[in-house]
């Protein structure tokens, strides 16, 4: 395959997200402008200008009309996808790290980093249909875990929130009461900070990637460990194919150590694993730095990777990919 290279960002990529139809790709980077691309040919559709810091995360509503972004400038912003207009700004006292729309797009979960004596927190916000009625108040604020919360997503039926972060523990919170329902076992769980978390298409399980050089597959309700994928480098990004039983891990050595070694030693590949056999299928090379973000097109026929090198690489699979046998 010949990947499409998109050089719209000047700083390392942080997050990639496809909309539900898989025709738009949203990219966030440490430069201040999230960007939207056409997912088939990589053409840039527009940018969302207004943030004043690195943008860590984004999510797009099911009908592809609203975009929410979380940024290190201590805000989360709601955008009109089509025009790039700012609809609302949620301000916090610390950088916003992760955002996620609930099923139905009526709620959003936003996590904030520990900062200047504040602990990290998970905020639940109401998202109103009409942006002029949008309220800034949080419905619920969940606090407790130490260290940064790198990712928080909604559980089945919006009843729970699953969070994972630097303390390597995955927690399932009750979205109504704010109580911790389940915590992952320290023994079987990750040993180092969790960098990314992604739900499966049907929302029955999710995968976490960690700096302990492994990724783990968990049941979303019972939080039982299903599978474990080990690799040679810290995992920065994980994603699952919606079409085949494939898991993709992205990572590479720490960005600060990249220049000290040969580029081949960095292992900046997107590694494909069989989801069930946990066996490695192959690797896709190309980035000059660690992979920070991965996203699979909802049709499962292409995937995008974003690296520390500032490039988004959009890969449309060849036919052979679909015939791979282990």
């Amino acid at each position: 395959m010949r990947p499409i290279l998109m050089k719209g960002h000047e700083r390392p990529l942080t997050f990639l997200k496809y909309n539900r139809d898989g025709d738009l790709l949203f990219s966030c980077a440490k430069d201040h402008t999230p960007t939207v691309w056409f997912a088939d040919n990589g053409e840039r559709l527009g940018t969302y200008r207004g943030h004043n810091g690195a943008v860590w995360c984004c999510d797009v509503s099911r009908d592809s009309s609203r975009l929410i972004t979380g940024s290190a400038d201590q805000t989360a912003m709601l955008w009109d996808v089509q025009t790039g207009a700012q609809l609302h700004t949620f301000t916090f006292d610390s950088p916003a790290r992760s955002v996620d729309f609930s099923v139905g797009d009526k709620l959003a979960v936003i996590t904030t980093d520990p900062f200047m004596g504040l602990t990290s927190a998970i905020h639940i916000k109401n998202i109103s249909k009409d942006p002029s009625e949008q309220m800034s108040e949080s419905v619920l604020v969940l606090k407790g875990p130490q260290g940064r919360i790198n990712r928080a997503v909604w559980g089945p039926l919006n009843k729970t929130i699953i969070s994972a972060g630097e303390d390597a523990v995955i927690r399932i919170w009750d979205a109504e009461t704010g109580k911790v329902l389940k915590e992952s076992d320290k023994e079987i769980g990750h040993k180092k900070g969790i960098t990314s978390l992604q739900k499966s298409v049907d929302g029955s399980h999710f995968i976490t990637g960690s700096l302990d050089k492994s990724a783990k597959l968990w049941d979303i309700r019972s939080l039982t460990l299903i599978k474990n994928y080990t690799t040679e480098r810290p995992v920065n990004a994980v994603t699952m194919s919606p079409l085949l039983n494939h898991v993709v891990l992205g990572g590479g050595q720490d960005a600060s150590a990249v220049t000290t070694t040969d580029h081949r030693a960095g292992k900046f590949e997107a590694k494909f694993y069989d989801k069930i056999l946990t066996e490695e299928i192959g690797g896709v090379k190309g980035h000059f730095g660690p992979i920070n973000a991965l996203a699979f097109n909802p049709d499962g026929k292409s995937f995008a990777s974003g690296g520390e090198d500032g490039y988004v690489r959009l890969h449309h699979f060849d036919q052979d990919y679909f015939n791979i046998r282990i």
Binding site: M1, K7, G22, G286
Partner: protein
Amino acid sequence: MAVEAANQPKIRWGELEDDAEDLDFLLPPKQVIGPDRNGLKKIVEYKFNEEGNKVRITTTVRICKLANARLSKGAVERRSWPKFGDAVHEDVGARLTMVSTEEIILERPRAPGSKQDESKSGGDSLNQIAKAGAVLMVCRTCGKKGDHWTSKCPFKDLAQPSETFVDRPPSRGEAPAAGAGSQKSAYVPPSMRGGAAERGSGGGTEMRRRNEENSVRVTNLSEDTREADLLELFRPFGHVSRVYVAIDQKTGMSRGFGFVNFVNREDAERAINKLNGYGYDNLILRVEWAAPRAT
């Protein structure tokens, strides 16, 4: 693209243009067949050539689709959205989006199918050996034929370490050549050592010679040729006991040559005759007997 003429074997493109003026209505209409499952489209056209003969031109075109995007109604609508933000004043020369000049493949940790192939061919060759009554399985420790491999030898612990060139005790194996006693004092290179040539079994030299037997050197391989590819290429000629492709330690790329060992010499000979000068990938293979290693 293939151009084929029905009446006239040769057509020049310049002539095709000129003569098709008024008589065009006499010609059968243009036909388009396909594209079929492989993306092949056939266009059949008729024209008059210089001498007024009717000529049929068949053009075969392969159609490739770069990306197969599923388009929903919303997606079609979004296609026509105007650009916004920084993308509005995007000059054409900006080239934010480029198609990689490099072909990226999903690199398999081992060559596809190699595992299954090896086991299969291994089984075949063993069966064949059993039939032929030949013995390939020779234990280098105890010298027993056809019973077990060296690594599985039950007398492994009793044997001397294999690195030291000590003559095997006469009690075991089939009588090492004479001179074991007389030559003990002076150093004799292993290859010259008594019985090195006729020693039926045992000893490191024997092992090495076996590796060089019926060895075929293949050069001018393309860089992405793997051992499995070579095996696939040579297997039709007979049972292959070893395939090796030289890999550059630093780059991990093939160095462009490799070795194939055949169980039977005749098979190797046939392979050389057939494959020397054979076009493989985009290169012309050179296949010859491997020169014995200079030791």
